[in-house]
């Protein structure tokens, strides 16, 4: 089937920053994204888990954007502004999409 080159950006970020990140993405012209839950993890700031969580500070989410390759740079710059001072991971990978007219 006919597929089209695209970039998949995945940003793991603290839940408290989610709305700020998606607002910035929208401002940068991103037309769609998906939020995936994260159960736990480990990094330089230690280990954490969502189990029985009683504080709203701890959780993380993963924001995934599939975009046209030419839109990558503005997106990364926008995202960077939000993640800069915060913990989290930003990865970019190549992919192909069906129905490219949707992006």
């Amino acid at each position: 089937m006919q597929t089209h080159q695209a970039k998949r950006v995945a940003i793991i970020i603290e839940q408290v920053m989610q709305r700020r990140l998606t607002e910035v993405l929208k401002d940068a012209g991103v037309t769609g994204f998906t939020i995936l839950p994260v159960l736990g993890g480990s990094g330089r700031s230690g280990e954490w888990s969502r189990e029985g969580q009683v504080t709203r500070a701890g959780g993380m989410v993963q924001v995934v954007c599939v975009i046209k390759p030419e839109r990558l740079d503005p997106l990364l710059e926008a995202a960077f502004k939000v993640v800069d001072r915060h913990i989290g991971v930003v990865t970019v990978s190549d992919c192909e999409v069906l129905r490219a007219e949707r992006f």
Binding site: V16, M17, G46, G52, V54, T55, R56, A57
Partner: protein, 325 residues
């Protein structure tokens, strides 16, 4: 003294404290016992709704008076002032950075609603009454401490954003809205509303509190296991001293306001307790460089158990002695 000890003993052997202890023990023993996040949130919604509603019903019965307004004001002032005291203490006692100290201080100005709930349940079983609007005071004390802490940091020269969005998030965070909202609902529907849902908000309350404290114990235990390395002796000591300092300030406020024995005790509890909901979330947004292991472990792993086990009976005993209640 005897009374304090006996009340402390009764308190320590109550189902809610033992449930908390079970959680801590299970977690330290690395059992896989755990309560799903959704269930923990559901229980906290239930507790906030029930405690707010009961407070409102009680205000509907006793009417609004000047002391209510003054108590709210006092709560706001205390919440804003306590971080300054905490910050000063931390500068003297601990080697924490300015940033970490301010973040910790914010927690101690704000309040822990579960500590408040546990205290009301001890009061109730001791037959000591209190002003129903204290739950509104609790809500009023959640946020000001955050602003104080951010002011402390900005005074230090750092350029800290206090965007209006963050302000809105702090003032409209879920637990404040639910507490104030259910307080208003209770106030509006009064005794009649209470009769309709009392078998929901009264009967299972203590039991839900047990399971919720079991979960708090699991989380606190996990925090202690992982965060214990982070807490230097100075910081640890602060976690036990600051509640006492806070409670004395709360005691003075309560006596000045002329509250009942229970009201004074609750003012002490609120001042002595440290936030683990609203403040950590705000700190992650506003001061991401501050180390969450420090403030969370201190608040949940040290001060919360301290208040729950020793603090509450002590504060109640002091309040009883000084109000002649």
């Amino acid at each position: 003294m005897d009374q304090i000890l006996s009340m402390a003993a009764t308190n320590l052997l109550s189902p809610i404290i033992l449930s908390f202890a079970l959680g801590v023990a299970a977690s330290l023993a690395r059992s896989d016992l755990n309560i799903p996040e959704a269930v923990a949130k559901g229980m906290s919604i239930y507790l906030l709704f029930a405690i707010g509603f009961k407070g409102g019903v009680s205000v509907a019965a006793h009417g609004i008076d000047l002391t209510l307004g003054l108590s709210l004001l006092a709560g706001i002032v205390l919440s804003a002032a306590l971080p300054l005291i905490a910050f000063g203490l931390l500068k003297v006692m601990s080697g924490l950075s300015r940033l970490d100290a301010a973040a910790v201080a914010a927690h101690y100005g704000s309040i822990s609603i579960v500590t408040f709930v546990a205290a009301t349940s001890v009061l109730q079983s001791s037959g000591i009454s209190y002003e129903g609007y204290m739950v509104a005071v609790a809500a009023a004390m959640e946020a000001p401490a955050i602003l104080s802490a951010l002011w402390l940091i900005s005074r230090g020269g750092a350029n800290r954003r206090m965007d209006p969005e963050l302000m809105r998030e702090i003032l409209l965070n879920g637990s404040i809205v639910l507490l104030v909202g259910s307080f208003l609902i209770g106030g509006i529907t009064g005794q009649e509303g209470f009769d309709r849902i009392s078998s929901f908000i009264e009967a299972p309350f203590q039991g839900v509190l047990c399971l919720f404290l079991l979960d708090m114990g699991l989380v606190a235990g996990r925090g202690l296991r992982e965060g214990s390395g982070v807490l230097k002796p100075g910081v640890l000591t602060f976690g036990g001293i600051m509640p006492l300092v806070g409670s004395v300030v709360g005691l003075l406020a309560g006596l000045l306001l002329g509250l009942s024995t229970g009201g004074v005790a609750l003012f002490m509890v609120l001042s002595a307790s440290a936030s683990y909901i609203a403040v950590p979330a705000a700190m992650r947004v506003a001061l991401p460089e501050a180390n969450p292991s420090i403030y969370l472990t201190l608040s949940l792993g040290v001060t919360f158990p301290f208040n729950l086990t020793l603090g509450i009976p002590l504060y109640i005993a002091l309040a009883s002695a000084l109000t002649g209640g």
